[in-house]
């Protein structure tokens, strides 16, 4: 499960660029903060490498492992 906190996101789109499996796309809707946040379009492709979590400068993404609850 991938959580994107759109209140924290500033729309730098590093996650869209650096995801090796291209799970994210740029959203077409503006968020409350006035930016285009990433949208989790293909969650089934995610391999839990946590690179988006690492690259995010704004702590907006949390990737849950399957074991975590």
């Amino acid at each position: 499960m991938i959580h994107v906190n759109t209140n924290y996101c500033k729309g730098c789109l590093l996650c869209v660029e650096y995801c090796p499996k291209k799970v994210y796309v740029k959203s077409e809707k503006l968020s409350k903060k006035g930016v285009f946040p990433p949208e989790v379009k293909f969650p089934e492709n995610c391999i839990r490498c946590h690179l988006c979590e690492l690259m995010c400068p704004d702590f907006a993404i949390i990737v849950e492992d399957k074991n975590d609850k």
């Binding site: 729309g11 903060k33 400068p57 704004d58």
Partner: protein, 258 residues
Amino acid sequence: MLPTIFCTGCGIGSVMNFSLRAIHDLNIDMNKTVFVSGIGCSSRVPGYIYSDGLHSLHGRAIPYATGVKLANPELKVIVFTGDGDCGAIGGNHFLHAIRRNVDITVISINNFIYGMTGGQVAPTTPLKSKTTTTPYGNIEYPIDLSMMAKVIGAPYVARWTTAHPVQCISSIKKALQKTGFSFVEVLSPCPTSYGRLNKMGTTLDMTKHFKESTINIKIYEKMLAEGKTTDKMVIGELVDIEKEDFNTKYNKFCGELK
């Protein structure tokens, strides 16, 4: 506190992310950790961390950190500093903390410019770069903070960019475990001040540029052996040696006097 105060795509958030992950992986006790910073964008970082922090004068983060470490050697002291804070205003303090070999970890976030005050020329600004105070290009030669630390004799020096998250985390971990002065320099994009004036595009273009304009030290050493040179910036673990730190030497010295 969140979202952070930093601009869109600023690398300081990433460096904070890397440092916190390194601290979490090492299970460092936050009650015995002090974060020290000077003035600048990078020095906002301790404000977001639930731990003891010290927001000191411009360039004087390292003297404060030295004082904290000498007063209570049990504490782990981590300094967040920028390139202007560490290389220009606090340049002398930086040199002498390395000379003394105080047991602190300095994480320097290098964005090539004075970002917070509006984009003036910094000591690390590359040649020909445009800033608000050098609108026709910079003519001063930049200093290389990591090489400076290496020459004076720091026991651990590493340099990475924000485009190398995994390597950067492992370097910060090693730096935190090292006894003695450990220095980690992270090249970070500043799309608002540096990128805008030099037409480098968004943070995505800047991180790509970092990947292209840097070379790992292992590849660089092979190239040197073959007699080739390159203009690219060398990244990687530059120094990793063992050296007695100031506190140990001081305690030994006191023991000898008795």
